[in-house]
């Protein structure tokens, strides 16, 4: 049975429609991430699940029960807030056990629960402190401890890491993933950080303007985006969108990229790939989506068996990140980003041969921005 089901939920503030017919269903133990730019409705959806915000229409089921009109307390959920929302006048121990106390759990059990989560999160030494005496990372742990103490059916995380500095954020991310693997809890997690979404989720819902554009595994969302928005939102640096024209070439198709001052670049569409629907686009402008890692530097020794099409361009900017090098170079009318190995010896202004992995390329309709192939 689905641990959480959202059926055709709509939310309107006055005439403004913040959620437009959202439906999601996740199984027990799944990690769902709602991701999207600010104002996409992900936090509103989270509040609707929590019961902090009534929905305009639609239903929400937790563990098969319709909880649409129940109070937050009656839904058996716990939430970790972006600001942590620790009760300032209470010690860490009181913060963690407050929810249990409100639910009239006997004292002995409360003590046991506090010990358990304190061990789990390594905050045993902080139990007698007040929130003001804790660092950001410690507060974050206490906020998670407060949620974990009660063992609810669903956990909600509202951008829990966005107030931490970069290094701590990565550490805590790993820790949340470990916790999820260990406890097998059902989690709904809101973030605007696509890296968090990719690394943590079993299932990602990419949202925009109150709609879920795509719901799928991180792999699906990353490699098989439904439209240009999803493709551009997921991945960093983001996908390159290149204007091209679809042409017939022999039995198949090829993409012609008009290049000023030089010969047009012609990229053949791999014959093995699905080409249904491309017929209608013949000789029309089309958008070719290529991620930076779909480019690789040409290795002369391997060029015999290497796949993909060769292209050549003058590199304008070289950005070494340590693990690899990001290159900015012109392709057609736009400048694109390519990711090459850290050993690539190239200086700005030099020409470089790159191989384009067309097997992973995606095509979008230039007008509707929808995926074509």
């Amino acid at each position: 049975m689905a641990a959480l089901e959202i059926h055709n939920v709509r939310k309107e503030f006055g005439s403004e429609r913040v959620l437009k017919d959202v439906s999601i269903s996740i199984d027990s133990g799944e990690f769902l991430i709602l991701v999207g730019p600010s104002g996409c409705g992900k936090s509103t959806l989270m509040n609707a699940i929590a019961g902090l915000e009534p929905v305009t229409s639609g239903n929400i089921y937790i563990d098969g029960e319709d909880v649409t009109w129940r109070t937050p307390a009656e839904r058996d959920i716990a939430m970790v807030f972006q600001s942590y929302a620790l009760y300032p006048s209470m010690t860490v121990r009181q913060n963690i056990s407050f929810g249990l106390e409100m639910r009239k759990v006997p004292k002995a059990e409360r003590v046991g629960a506090v010990e358990r989560v304190a061990d789990l999160l390594q905050i045993s030494h902080l139990l007698e402190r007040k929130p003001a005496q804790l660092s950001g990372g410690q507060r974050q742990r206490v906020a998670m401890g407060r949620a974990l103490a009660r063992e609810p059916k669903v956990y909600l995380f509202d951008e829990p890491l966005s107030n931490l500095d970069a290094k701590l954020r990565v550490d805590m991310r790993t820790e949340i993933k470990k916790l999820h693997q260990r406890l097998g809890t059902t989690i709904v997690y809101v973030t605007h950080d696509q890296v968090e979404a990719m690394t943590l989720a079993d299932c990602i819902a990419v949202m925009r303007d109150g709609n879920i554009l795509q719901l799928g595994s991180p792999d699906e969302v990353y490699n098989n985006p439904v439209d240009m928005f999803v493709a551009g939102f997921m991945g960093s640096p983001s996908m390159n969108f290149i204007r091209a024209t679809l042409e017939a070439a022999g039995d198949g198709y090829a993409l012609r990229i008009a290049t000023p001052d030089e010969d047009d670049l012609l990229l053949p569409w791999p014959s093995g790939r699905n080409a249904a629907g491309l017929v209608e686009q013949l000789n029309k402008p089309i958008i070719l989506g290529l991620r930076p890692e779909h480019f690789s530097e040409e290795d002369v020794r391997l060029s015999e068996q290497a796949e993909g099409t060769l292209m050549e361009a003058k590199v304008s900017v070289v950005e070494p990140t340590g693990a690899d090098i990001l290159l900015r170079l012109p392709l057609g009318e736009q400048e694109i980003t390519a990711r090459v190995g850290p050993k690539c010896a190239i200086a700005p202004g030099e020409r470089l041969s790159l191989r384009v992995d067309m097997a992973r390329a995606v095509l979008f309709d230039a007008e509707t921005e929808q995926r074509l192939a």
Binding site: A50, G51, L52, T71, P72, A73, I77, A78, M79, F81, Q82, S83, A85, Y87, P88, S89, M90, F98, G99, M102, R103, R146, R150
Partner: protein, 292 residues
């Protein structure tokens, strides 16, 4: 100013001296009336008529104080202001407690449990801060009559509570607006209800604004004369009314020392409250404006 780096030139020192001079003069100017009152209240009557306002007492005596407290005539009775002093306390304490409590609950509801029109309700309550006392005298007398509370202590307390709520609501609303709503959301998810959240989460962090509200209300209600004179009977009159009667009762020679002593007695509680809690008052007023 200690952390401002500036070269100590002679001109700068002179400027500093002038600055302090002006401040000291201003300080003396403000403290002078009280010094005169205090000095006059411990002078015998003969010294007052012989000396000037500022001459120091030669034979200090507490006799004017005891007379003001227990014997001086306020109108027809000669029992001093002592009894009225306790009348004031019996009125002020419940009025302050009730208006502060209601204000805190109002502020909490208006910020953390918003409802349709809650901003309008707040705006209307705010309006209550600007209503002059005189305007409501007659309607209030009528209302108290209907309620059967005319000339009673309970009636006077009710009037002060009704007038005070506008201010206390304003204080608490502005304080609670700065407390993150997520705290309340978290407590709701934890299973706490309206009063539980108020009692366990909000109230423990409200000390600064409670102090502000208590000081403000205490001073306002203690110092009030108009409502006291309009809505109280003789046995419930506050000390401010008694002081007025005492000063206006002529028994031949004017006893300035007794008048001053009575005035000091009437002003003492508010003075004490300011001295004890003044720094919390300033802290509370600025709380929330700057993030700690």
């Amino acid at each position: 100013m200690a952390n401002v780096i500036r070269r100590q030139t002679p001109a700068a020192r002179l400027l500093r001296a002038v600055l302090y001079g002006v401040l000291i003069v201003a300080g003396l100017f403000y403290i002078l009336p009280m010094v005169v009152m205090l000095m006059t209240s411990i002078k015998p009557l003969s010294e007052i008529s012989a000396g000037t306002l500022l001459s120091l007492p030669q034979n200090p005596t507490l006799e004017p104080w005891t007379k003001a407290w227990g014997e001086a005539c306020t109108g027809m009775r000669c029992e001093g202001v002592g009894g009225y002093f306790w009348n004031s306390f019996a009125m002020v304490i419940p009025a302050v407690l009730i208006s502060t409590t209601v204000g805190a609950l109002n502020g909490y509801a208006l910020t953390k449990w918003r409802f349709k029109g809650s901003e309008l309700v707040f705006a209307l309550m705010l309006f209550g801060c600007f209503i002059p006392f005189q305007v409501v005298l007659l309607p209030m007398a009528q209302t108290l009559g209907w309620l059967g509370l005319s000339s009673s202590r309970a009636g006077l307390i009710l009037v002060h509570v009704v007038f005070g709520i506008a201010f206390t609501t304003l204080f608490f609303r502005n304080f609670y607006v700065g407390i993150p709503n997520e705290l309340v959301s978290a407590a709701k998810l934890d299973g706490a209800g309206f009063f539980r959240i108020f009692w366990r989460i909000l109230l423990p962090v409200s000390a600064p604004i409670i102090v502000v509200s208590v000081i403000w209300q205490f001073t306002q209600i203690w110092n009030d004369f108009l409502f006291g004179v309009a809505f109280s009977a003789h046995n419930t009159q506050p000390v401010t009314v008694a002081l007025n009667n005492l000063v206006n009762t002529s028994t031949g020679v004017r006893e300035y020392n007794v008048d001053m002593a009575a005035a000091m007695i009437a002003a003492l509680p508010t003075l004490v409250v300011y001295v004890l809690a003044g720094k919390y008052f300033v802290r509370g007023l600025t709380a929330g404006s700057v993030k700690g």
